[in-house]
Structure formats: structure tokens, C-alpha cells
Symmetry: C2
Subunit: 237 residues, 2 copies
């Protein structure tokens, strides 16, 4: 049986192309996993994050990168997968404490399930996801108790589970970190955040809007580190 | 809060167009749920079962039917989603007790996760799936303990779970039934099994092969009821 943390052990990393998942990718590589990266064209408002995911894989020399199409617009129910407008704010303090309309129903469950499917083919033991319970505490599928329940289910779901392979572990290295801490961790690992995009609603030219929740939280994270965000914004920040 | 079993309560039924899911659809309707049906074009070897799913919905007057594309061939790992041949047998007793190569990694988890996503948009409380632990006891994701773990995870995963809606229930009305019992139950409810297809590997003309595990188990089920299977077979059965 393979050990974890070895050069030969596979892991599947969910890679959106945003700040969080780029950091998670660097952490999985630091743990010396052989990384397969999984991204989704799920009906989100733009493809820019997928271009970022591809470039991050190229830079890291990751040859196993699958971009899977799932048209979650057939279900709708989110500002990211319908024509509902993305809320904009002038300041991070205006972000409410309710689950925002950018929440995509069961998205992490869908993404983790597909990562689980691929992990079974690859005999990967570890699935990495960049969920964060601090900055978006309202998202139900970012909470530790949800992740624990998914892991328990995963270990009953697969052929590997029945045949006694290494148990599946859902790794969430960012779950307790603030955005500022995530950025600090990523910079230590050499992440080039200029290659990532977080904006929910960029311009046609690919410039970040600077006003959606994702932009505001990201900007605050850089600011708390006394750094400028290398992302390109449509408005002067 | 809505009651279950009322005319206004929504349920999502996973509908492949096969014998089992057609029976589950009839059971969900008998329970007076307002049914939304979900099918997948996931890279399976043929589209015939999707045509069956569409016809079953038309017959039942179900207007909410989504066929979602997910290309599980990008992962492979199964005879149903790769060029691996589908095993054929002369007799049902030749089916082994190991997990067969027709097992699709984490398929039920992927399907249930997408049903969960849609259920959240529809505010559906019940997800129906035609898993069966008897005739395919080797499939890890057909076992009651797996279903219980999925349900537990689902009730931590969604906005509805956080906001105190009716808990999600995964309904598996066939889980303890033999194929013969399933057929008996379906016939009582008026299911037209001539409108269903179970074959893993039909001919180009849509005739069932009669030799794959799915055909053999289905034929045995009809035989045990003293009935002829109304499906059309390529070979004389």
C-alpha cells in the first residue's frame, strides 16, 4: 500500500483558477503529491478563470488537467449560473451575513463527487479543495462538519472503499485561514497571484470588477498584508 | 412547512430509462410527489435509454425533465465509459460476485449530487434513486450504509439545510427487492416495461444484446414472474 506524502501518491486538486485554489495547488505540491487538477465549465459567467487554471497547470508542469463541462444553468438558482445580477458593494463591510445569491446550489458536493470519481480511476487517496469557513461562513458547503460528512460518505462510495485501499481524505488546508493568511501562505510557496482571477463578473476584456464580494475580500487580503493585488481591475482601486 | 406526500411537495427522480428507474418513477408518483426527472448523458455507450426516459416522462405528464451532459469518458475506468468491452455471458449464473468492469466510478455519488443541486433550486425534499443491493451486491454505491451517509452529508450541504427547510430524504424503494419483485411492483403500478431499456450494449438498431449482466438479470426477473420481457432483443431469448 502506498504511503501518503510520497512522490508516487496521487491527489486530485479542485482548481478554479482563483486565489484560493491556486494556493491549495501549491500546498498539495509541497506535500509532494502527484497532482491531477480538475476544473469545471459549469455555466459560470466567464471563462477567464479556466484560462488561469490552465496556465497554473502549465507553470507547475501538471499534465493531468481535466476541464469538465456541466451546465448548471439548466438548474439555475444562483447569480453565477443565471441572468440574476451579481451584487456589487463599495466596501467589504457592506457584505451581509446571509448566504449570498452567488451561492451555487450544492456546487462543492457536485465538484467533490466528480473529483471522487476521477480519484477512483487514478487511485488517488487525497482530494484537495480550497473551501474557507471564515470569510464565507454562510456557505453551508464550506463548513468543517460538511467536509467530514462528505469524507465519510466517500469512504463508503467507491470500489476502493470496499476493496480496502487507502481511505479517501478530503484535504481543506485553507478552511481556518483568513484571506490575508491564505495569501501569506501562498506567497511563501511561490504562488504568482497575478496568474489567478477571483472576480465573479469581470469585463469582456477580463478585468476584475473590484466590487463583487470575491474582489472585495481578495483586495482586503492583500491590503492586510500591505501588498498590492497583482490582478488587473477595471476601476482604480 | 410543506408536508411530504402532498400534491405540492417536489421530488427529484433519477431516471435512466431502465427498468428500475421507471419503477421508481411510478412509486414517487404513487406517493403523490410533484416529480422532476433527471437523466444524464454521461458518456454511456448508447442514447437509447435517454429516449426511453423522455418517453416515460411524456407518458407520465412530467414537464420538468432535465438531461444533463457530463462526459465521464474524460475519466474512463469503466466498460460503460471507455472502449473496454462489455462482458457477455450465456447465463445469469455466470455473473461473478466481484465488482464488474461495468461499474462506473462514483456514478451514484455524482448523480445524487446533481439531483441534490437541482432539489435545492426546486425546494424538493426527496430524491429517488433505483439502487438495488440484492442483484448487484458488489456495487459499493448501492448499499444502505452508503445511502445513509449520502443523506447525512446532503443535510449539511445545502442552504436549505442551514435555513431549516424540510430535511433531504434519499428514497431507495427498490433497495431490498429482487428483480422479480421490482417487476411485480411496477406492473401493479401500471409501468409499461416495453418503454424501458436495460441493456448495456444494444445494437445500432436499439435491440438489447441479451447477454450482458443487465439483460440477464432483467430476463431472469420476468422469467420468475412467468412473463415474457417486452423489450426487443437482438437474439432469440
Amino acid at each position: 500500500m502506498a504511503n501518503r506524502m510520497s512522490d508516487t501518491q496521487n491527489a486530485v486538486v479542485l482548481l478554479s483558477g482563483g486565489l484560493d485554489s491556486a494556493t491549495v495547488l501549491a500546498i498539495a505540491r509541497e506535500q509532494r503529491f502527484k497532482v491531477a487538477a480538475l476544473s469545471f465549465r459549469y455555466g459560470q459567467r466567464h471563462e477567464q478563470e479556466l484560462n488561469c487554471a490552465e496556465r497554473l497547470c502549465q507553470q507547475a508542469g501538471i499534465s493531468q488537467h481535466v476541464i469538465l463541462d456541466i451546465d448548471l444553468r439548466k438548474f439555475g438558482g444562483s447569480a453565477l449560473t443565471s441572468d440574476m445580477p451579481v451584487p456589487k458593494h463599495g466596501d467589504v463591510r457592506e457584505i451581509g451575513d446571509k448566504i449570498p445569491v452567488t451561492y451555487v446550489p450544492a456546487r462543492n458536493t457536485v465538484f467533490l463527487s466528480l473529483a471522487l470519481a476521477w480519484s477512483e480511476v487514478l487511485q488517488a487517496s487525497d482530494l484537495f479543495i480550497g473551501v474557507n469557513a471564515l470569510d464565507y461562513s454562510g456557505y453551508p458547503d464550506c463548513r468543517p462538519e460538511y467536509i467530514a460528512a462528505f469524507q465519510q460518505m466517500a469512504n463508503l462510495a467507491t470500489k476502493g472503499a470496499v476493496e480496502g485501499q487507502l481511505p479517501i481524505r478530503i484535504q481543506t488546508p485553507l478552511i481556518d485561514l483568513t484571506k490575508a493568511q491564505i495569501i501569506r501562505r501562498g506567497l511563501q510557496l511561490g504562488v504568482d497571484y497575478g496568474m489567478t482571477t477571483s472576480c465573479y463578473d469581470p469585463t469582456a476584456e477580463g478585468l476584475a470588477c473590484g466590487g463583487c464580494d470575491a474582489c472585495l475580500l481578495r483586495l482586503k487580503g492583500f491590503e492586510e498584508n500591505g501588498l498590492a493585488d497583482p490582478a488587473r481591475y477595471a476601476t482604480k482601486i
